[in-house]
Symmetry: C2
Subunit: 136 residues, 2 copies
Amino acid sequence: MLSKKTQYAFRALVHLAENYGKEPVKISTISIQQKIPLKFLEHILNDLKKADMLESKKGKGGGYRLSVSPKNLNLATVIRIINGPIALLPCVSLNFYEKCVDCDEETCGVRKMMLIARDATLKVLEKKTLYDMMNE
Amino acid sequence: MLSKKTQYAFRALVHLAENYGKEPVKISTISIQQKIPLKFLEHILNDLKKADMLESKKGKGGGYRLSVSPKNLNLATVIRIINGPIALLPCVSLNFYEKCVDCDEETCGVRKMMLIARDATLKVLEKKTLYDMMNE
DNA sequence: ATGTTATCCTATAAAATTAGTAGGCTTTTA
DNA sequence: TAAAAGCCTACTAATTTTATAGGATAACAT
């Protein structure tokens, strides 16, 4: 399951996607409208910024904006930044790989199945974008 | 990500699958051969038993055995018993549904995408079985 | 220059979940 | 009736998640 933080991140990002091309949006505005704890949201947006998904501007008239078009921001990328691995096991993770203890990767059947599951999930999450999350 | 407990469960179940039709297997045997903490494994096997996935027998010559063929035990079922929901959000879970706060399910774009992801993942996990996890 | 507005940064704390242990109870078999 | 096994309840430790607090820094307006 995705953490609450990740849910918040998606809600905030959709909000920003709806303001793409417009003036930057303040944390406090997103916090109120999306009902996300302000200080927690601060961290979330900062994480996304560090991953170059957002741009920010300080001072009056400042705030956050998407640094790329909603159509070019896929869901897998967001999840990896905020939530971590998408795969069900570390040993089948593309971005957060860790070797299993006591398991031969060549023959491990658990791993083999989790690889297939991962590919199925990723196929969706890498194709779908923030734009797909916005209301038509 | 699946919990360590779920990884242990899969290892134990594959072990039992390889002994399907034979004598029951003792917890201690599985614990040693699969390198799973014995007392922890006790809980795991008990959970699986309560879900009617395993049968047990006490006393000498006792132990655990699968109550159905490995070909009829799909991975989604195991994950739900030990790990919980497969869906990425509670509001798209078939077996552990919970309503999101502050979200209209009809229009929520996040939910819509998570539904698609869930279906893709489930399609694999419900089709693949313990048998598929065993070595050919 | 200086105050205001906003993000940025670091530390801390509370709550929840996960992982594991301990120890005695019950059932089956020899 | 003793042994060998699972069964049951409670507890503890570690880790992760979900925040909160408070000041530092940057941009802008007057």
